[in-house]
């Protein structure tokens, strides 16, 4: 029944990660050289639908930024593929990829290091249009001004250098640059985490406004759940190179099924000490090294519900309720949910 419902309202998939993997090889040891694989991204699957915002959250080092770069084709995947508008990016040559990126743009985390300090704002924003030979001369100038207005910058700032701007303004420059080519999908790689909280809100609202006006699809990578909640439609939670849970924003916040998601939600500071709860699922310990991940379910050493099965068997990432994907042997099931308890199979 669920399947029928899903098919009838199925939206267009614009970007898809299919079993995407990225392993980095590093050498360890001085005398006995050993090659170690760091599994930054280790087999992830998700779809991004047209016009939505998919949030990707996780702790530092869980591979979310690597995922972003894989989606953009800035990194070559070790295995798996990225499908963008029914085209396989992973099979493209460098030149094809270069042209395909017209529709796939990125906003970077640090507005201080993502703008070339030796180019003026005008050069920075007009560069994508020049690179792809789309327009020049007067037309180009008009377009740059139009883009500046769109992101809330003033035209008289055209000839200034990035160092003359504040962090929030710089991020606006970065956004204007990303918008210049009229992309379909924008990957925001921690686009607001380097900014002050009040500026974060401004930029998030700007992104939302732009999404409505320009019909954009966002992949929003962040480490803080509150930020992601504000902007996302669906949220994917990553842990040690894997997506552990993927669901609608409200579903995820109201009904987290993975102990890790639950722990993340609880770790968000609550300003009222009376409301603070000490829950048994709150995580213990540190995130393990991705070069030597734990066996079975990567989360089991930090999980309160871990059993022998979790140590041995890697949980499968599957749709557990309608549009709610999960990789866990022992989901946190509430009474009123019709969840198939898979712990016994």
């Amino acid at each position: 029944m669920n399947k029928i419902l899903e098919n009838s309202i199925e939206k267009k998939v614009v970007l898809e990660a299919r079993d995407l993997k990225k392993h980095f090889e590093i050498s360890k040891g001085i005398i006995k050289r050993e090659k170690v694989n760091v599994k930054a991204v280790d087999g992830i699957n998700f779809k991004v639908y047209d016009g939505e915002t998919l949030g990707i959250v996780g702790e530092s080092g869980c591979g979310k930024s690597t995922t972003g770069e894989l989606l953009l084709g800035l990194l070559e995947p070790t295995a798996g593929e990225v499908i963008f508008n029914d085209v396989n990016l992973s099979k493209m040559s460098q030149e094809e990829l270069r042209l395909a990126r017209k529709d796939l743009q990125v906003i970077f985390q640090d507005p201080y290091s993502s703008l070339n300090p030796r180019m003026t704002v005008e050069e920075i924003i007009s560069e994508p249009l020049i690179v792809h030979n789309i327009m020049k001369g007067k037309k180009l100038k008009t377009r740059v001004k139009e883009l500046m207005n769109l992101v809330g910058l003033q035209e008289h700032q055209l000839k200034r250098f990035p160092h003359e701007f504040s962090g929030g303004q710089r991020q606006r420059i970065g956004i204007a640059r990303a918008l210049a080519l009229d992309p379909k999908v924008i990957v925001c790689d921690e686009a607001v985490s380097a900014l002050d909280v009040s500026i974060q809100a401004q930029i998030l609202n700007l992104l939302k406004k732009l999404q409505d006006e320009l019909d954009l699809t966002f992949v929003f990578i962040a480490h803080g759940l509150p930020t992601v909640r504000h902007i996302s439609d669906r949220i994917a939670v990553m842990y040690l190179g894997k997506v552990v849970e993927l669901a609608d924003k409200n579903e995820l916040f109201d009904n987290p099924l993975h102990p890790y998601t639950h722990g993340l939600l609880l770790s968000v500071p609550v300003p009222d000490p009376e409301l603070r709860k000490d829950d048994p699922t709150t995580m213990k310990g540190e995130i393990p090294s991705p070069s030597n991940p734990p066996s079975g379910c990567h989360f089991h050493p930090r999980c309160k519900f871990a059993t022998e099965k979790c140590k041995e068997l890697v949980p499968e990432f599957r749709e557990i309720i309608d549009n709610h994907y999960l990789a866990c042997h022992h989901p946190l099931i509430k009474e009123d949910n019709e969840v198939f308890d898979t712990s016994n199979d």
Partner: protein, 297 residues
């Protein structure tokens, strides 16, 4: 159009004023600039200001001391050398060769070093290996010895001198540019250039080179100083500039035999080299401060 011209003028004026203020705030920078400016002016105006022909010998007035010493005359302000040539005139003409060699050799070395350094740093792999091992090979051979051999084979002339100096000192730039490139290419703005679909060529020339340039210019100015000294050494050793052309190094070499009896023959070219080199070093030091983008703004 109106908007851009209004926006541009205050901004560029502001930058100029800032550079000027910083120059005033740094006395050594100001001194360096004055010395270099003075030296270059003299080199350009040599035929106008020089009292005599630098190659004109006068057997009657051999080894005349400077005018303030006993036996000196105001006819030859800084005295004459062993062939009766006016030292002041030779000093003025010598600046031409010294500065010309200093600057052109650095430009040549800089161009080679910049190009190879960018390629080695940006493309890495086999390019990096081949270029950097070549650099190592150059560094393994003593510079002066290497230059002497080449000059001896090719025969000394102004052109070969510049080529040899440029062709052996580029390794310094290549190493520096390569290491800077390695760090700059990992910056997010380079990633952003790739993301918008910029080609390698564009990334190298619009993103990496402008950001390598400040350190590059500083090293280059300092190397103008070392090159002037190298030219002097080679001329001193007899494989640099040949008479009747004149350079400070050659004058120094000529004066060597008379240091004990006629101190002025070697002292004035020596002083000229010291002061000019010092001026260039001061200027380079100051440029390093001015070109640091973090200090801008």
């Amino acid at each position: 159009m109106g908007v851009t011209s209004i926006a541009r003028s205050p901004s560029s004026k502001r930058v100029n004023k800032k550079v000027f203020n910083r120059l005033l705030a740094s006395p050594t920078g100001l001194v360096g600039l004055c010395i270099v400016f003075f030296a270059v002016t003299i080199a350009i105006l040599a035929p106008v200001i020089s009292p005599y022909d630098p190659a004109l010998t006068n057997p009657v007035d051999r080894l005349v001391p400077p005018f303030w010493s006993e036996g000196g005359s105001t006819k030859y302000i800084l005295g004459t050398d062993n062939l009766g040539r006016d030292i002041l005139s030779r000093l003025i003409y010598g600046s031409r060769i010294s500065i010309l060699v200093g600057i052109s050799a650095v430009v040549l070395a800089g161009a080679i070093g910049m190009f190879l350094g960018l390629i080695a740093g940006y493309y890495g792999k086999i390019w990096d290996f081949v270029i950097m091992r070549t650099v190592d090979a150059f560094l393994a051979i003593p510079n002066i010895l290497f230059m002497l051999i080449i000059l001896a084979v090719l025969g000394p002339s102004l052109m070969t001198l510049i080529l040899v100096l440029g062709g052996t000192t580029w390794v310094v730039y290549a190493r520096m540019v390569r290491s800077e490139t390695l760090s700059i290419k990992e910056k997010e703005y380079v990633k952003s250039a790739k993301a918008i679909g910029a080609k390698n060529f564009r990334i190298i020339f619009k993103y990496i080179m402008p950001n390598v340039l400040p350190s590059f210019i500083v090293i280059a100015t300092l190397n103008v100083a070392t090159t002037i000294i190298l030219e002097a050494s080679l001329s001193f050793l007899g494989l640099g500039i040949q008479s009747p052309e004149v350079s400070w190094g050659l004058m120094l070499s000529d004066g060597r035999d008379y240091v004990a009896t006629s101190w002025w023959v070697a002292t004035f070219p020596g002083l000229a080299i010291t002061i000019t080199v010092l001026g260039v070093i001061f200027l380079g030091d100051w440029l390093r401060d001015v070109l640091d983008p973090k200090l801008k703004g």
